[in-house]
């Protein structure tokens, strides 16, 4: 019993010794203090944390190679600016000048090292004039004006199929907009809007002829589909108009814009248009501000009148 108690006493005092000697080391490390053996005093340091995607990059600090690779923590750095370079085989190096402050951490944890030879893959081997991406459905559309056809493939370029006919614009369209139900494609330049019918995703072939609506009354800035898949909102340089997706459609001017090239945003979830313009308020004064135009059936009676057309189409 006595021997055991002696061993225990030894262990106890050993624990106390480890605690008392280890604690200053741990605390100074945690607080980024470094003991300067020459000056015999603690000095404040900082640290840098490096994390890369992919991991395993060699770390150069002021052109000196460190032993650790990313993710890496460089401790006990005296305050100042350091040149950091990260190198990974077959990847572009990453360099930065990093300012280290006392008792602080520099977190560089969103570094991406890009490969030297990007992984480029040929998606399609066919000739086409334009291409656009349907992010929501994960599909690629290809337009061949010479052939007057629209094709569709998945994101890998496989399962290519013709999904509709298209008429070319002059000059060529610079933007393409799919209707929410993917039954129509709207494309436009500054003076013309083309409509093409698609048979993708609904499984049935639509035998409708594509058409072009001329828009001579003002340069087209943008076009948005209404959620009814029949109307679309045209943002011209001086007006906001609504049109029907039919060859003889005439524009209805909803808002006269006082500022040229006004900023316009469309929330397709509730068919609400936001724009920045100078408009006359209820008090008769004109304010340059953000405005909201609700175009859903519940809040916009005009749409109630033309909705049946959409349903009867």
């Amino acid at each position: 019993m006595l021997t055991e108690q002696r061993i225990r006493a030894f262990l106890f005092y050993l624990s106390v010794f480890i605690f008392l000697t280890g604690l200053p080391v741990i605390l100074s490390s945690a607080l980024s203090y470094k003991f300067d053996t020459r000056a015999l005093k603690f000095t404040k340091t900082g640290l840098v944390f490096l994390k890369t995607q992919p991991a395993g990059a060699a770390v150069f600090l002021n052109n000196r190679l460190l032993t650790e690779t990313t993710p890496a923590t460089i401790r006990e750095l005296m305050p100042g600016t350091y040149g950091i370079r990260l190198e990974l085989k077959d990847h572009y190096p990453w360099t930065a000048d990093v300012r280290v402050e006392p008792n602080k951490v520099v977190l560089l944890d969103q570094i991406i090292l890009f490969p030297l030879r990007p992984n480029i893959k040929q998606v399609s081997k066919m000739q086409f004039d334009a291409c656009f991406l349907d992010e929501e459905k994960g599909a690629l559309y290809y337009v061949n004006y010479g052939e007057g056809s629209i094709y569709l493939s998945d994101l890998e370029g496989s399962r290519m199929e013709k999904v509709g006919d298209i008429l070319g614009l002059n000059p060529p369209a610079y933007a393409w907009k799919l209707s929410p139900d993917r039954s129509k494609l709207l494309y436009f330049n500054r003076r013309q809007i083309g409509i093409a019918y698609l048979n993708a995703f609904n499984g049935r072939s639509i035998k409708k002829t594509p058409f072009i609506i001329e828009h001579p009354q003002g340069a087209i800035e943008n076009v948005f589909w209404h959620s009814d898949n029949y109307h679309f909102i045209v943002i011209a340089n001086r007006s906001i108009e609504v049109l029907e997706a039919k060859p003889t459609s005439l524009p209805v001017e909803l808002v006269k814009l006082n500022k040229p090239a006004a900023q316009v945003f469309f929330n397709s979830r509730d068919d609400t248009l936001y724009f920045i313009d100078s408009q006359k308020a209820e008090d008769g004064m004109t304010y340059e501000n953000a405005y909201k135009l609700e175009l859903n059936a519940r809040t916009f009676p005009f749409m109630d009148l033309i909705m049946p057309k959409a349903n009867n189409e």
Binding site: Q5, R8, S15, L23, A30, L31, L47, K104, V105
Partner: protein, 496 residues
């Protein structure tokens, strides 16, 4: 309220107030001064790592001693001491409340199977009169064990004796007083009787009484010592759910560790002592829940601080408290741990005793009071600090704290603590496997794997039962809401 009552209430408030102040202080610090809070957490984490390493080493040493003495024939050792052992009698009291013959039978059978003359053993089955089945249970057990020992007595503790609470100590005291009358009538000197007070489910090892007698006869001043066997919970451990098993194994480990720290060692659960001393100190407390430890402090005060606990490196096996429903098991374990944590009532008892007593060195008074207070406060706050307060500086410190070196290092150091604890838990797993009883035939072999894998539940056990029962008990004492004795229900699978 007189001065004594005010003094007593102040002492009751101190442990809970200290625990709550420590927790609230740390939370406020995390919000207002996260760097200072983080420094304190790192200090505590490092202290906890060192403490875990130290206590795990003590556990290994205690276990080594237990293993070394496992197959020792203690009765032969007694014989080698001379004829003195033959004069000794063992009085064994089983305080019983709701436990029936199915629980007590195995405990009594273990006594019967002991490698010790049964004609030196007096058994008292101490039943509660308020349990309507007591008479029938007593009759059943008397029928089976009446003639197996020197004497077998059944006592019935009446309910509602003035000054008593419904506690195990009150029942045991009633039984001990009856036993004293019986022993005196038989002409047996009280100083030749060693009393063991066992929980109803306590099954002693075959060599228990030989080991106890040997230690009693060889100890200097044997009447100024209690004798503490190592409690294990092996009776139903193979059938108990993992959660309950882990908790009870941890309890066994705590007791093994405490057995190495003699200056802090206090009696716990089933234990033995001189009957003469018990009579001298007027038996167990009759109105306190933690009778097992208070009886030690009573003897300590009676002998002016010259009283100690001698560890017996022999096991007594009890039941793991569990139910067949997981949540009921948690509740049951929680209540049992809260009852143990109610041992904090020892603090006002001891300090009052020190204030009233002369002859105990002041330094000893301060040290023992501090040890008692510190152990209960640590119990109530350690898991809260490690599990809940450690992440607070990062959560409440904001962007500025996250840019600080310490904000970056704090989670790393806390993680280091967790990794170290995991490392230490490998030692605990190994030791837990070695103290297991043989696997019953109705238990599949795969349960061996579960016995290892279940240790991943340790964080959950710490979360639920680490500090909360102690904090609960201390808060109740602080608010003057005294607890009633919770008799842990015993449940065993029927053996095939």
């Amino acid at each position: 309220m007189n001065n004594a009552r005010i003094f007593n209430r102040a002492l009751e408030i101190i442990p809970g107030a200290a625990s709550w102040l420590a927790i609230i202080f740390m939370i406020l610090l995390a919000a207002c001064k996260p760097v200072v809070c983080a420094v304190l957490i790192i200090v505590f984490d490092f202290y906890w790592i060192i403490r875990t390493a130290y206590l795990t080493t003590l556990l290994v040493m205690a276990y080594h001693k237990l293993a070394r003495q496992k197959n020792r024939n203690w009765l032969d050792d007694c014989r080698r001491l001379g004829s003195g052992w033959q004069e000794m009698y063992h009085l064994v009291i089983f305080p019983v409340y709701k436990e029936g013959p199915e629980i007590l039978r195995s405990s009594l059978k273990a006594l019967e199977d002991c490698n010790y003359p049964q004609d030196k053993i007096i058994v008292v089955c101490a039943l509660e009169e308020r349990n309507k089945d007591s008479g029938r249970n007593a009759a059943v057990l008397e029928g089976e064990f009446k003639n197996k020992f020197f004497a077998y007595l059944s006592t019935f503790h009446p309910d509602g004796i003035p000054g008593e609470a419904r506690t195990k100590g009150a029942n045991a005291t009633w039984a001990a007083k009856h036993a004293k009358a019986f022993i005196s009538q038989k002409g047996i000197p009280l100083d030749k009787v060693i009393i063991s007070c066992f929980d109803a489910d306590t099954c002693v090892e075959k060599e228990y009484f030989g080991c106890l007698t040997y230690h009693f006869l060889t100890a200097p001043s044997p009447h100024q010592a209690s004798y503490q066997p190592m409690p294990v919970y092996n009776n139903n451990i193979w059938h108990a759910p993992s959660f309950a098993r882990l908790v009870e194994i941890s309890s066994s480990f705590c007791q093994l560790i405490e057995s190495m720290r003699l200056e802090k060692f206090v009696t716990f659960s089933s234990h033995s002592m001189s009957f003469k001393t018990l009579v001298d100190i007027d038996y167990w407390p009759v109105n306190m829940i933690s009778d097992d430890s208070v009886v030690y402090w009573k003897a300590f005060l009676f002998h002016k601080g010259d009283y100690r606990v001698i560890p017996l490196y022999i096991t007594v096996s009890m039941d793991v408290a569990y139910s067949h429903n997981f949540f009921r098991t948690i509740v049951m374990q929680y209540k049992q741990k809260r009852r143990w944590a109610w041992g904090v009532e020892n603090f006002p008892f001891l300090v009052k005793g020190f204030a009233d007593s002369t002859g105990i060195p002041l330094m000893k008074k301060i040290k023992r009071s501090y040890h008692l207070l510190e152990s209960h406060v640590t119990w109530a706050v350690w898991a809260v600090i490690i599990m809940f307060i450690a992440p607070l500086p990062v959560l409440l410190g904001g962007a500025v704290f996250k840019q600080m070196s310490i904000g970056y290092n704090l989670p790393l150091i806390t993680g280091m603590l967790l990794n170290f604890t995991l490392g230490a838990s490998f030692v605990w797993v190994l030791l837990s496997l070695t103290i297991l009883p043989p696997r019953p035939k109705d238990i599949p072999w795969s349960k061996n794997i579960i016995m290892v894998v279940e240790w991943v539940l340790v964080p959950l056990v710490i979360l639920i039962l680490g500090s909360t029962p102690a904090l609960d008990a201390q808060t109740r004492l602080m608010l003057g809401r005294h607890m009633e004795f919770y008799s842990t229900p015993k449940s065993r699978e029927k053996k095939a």
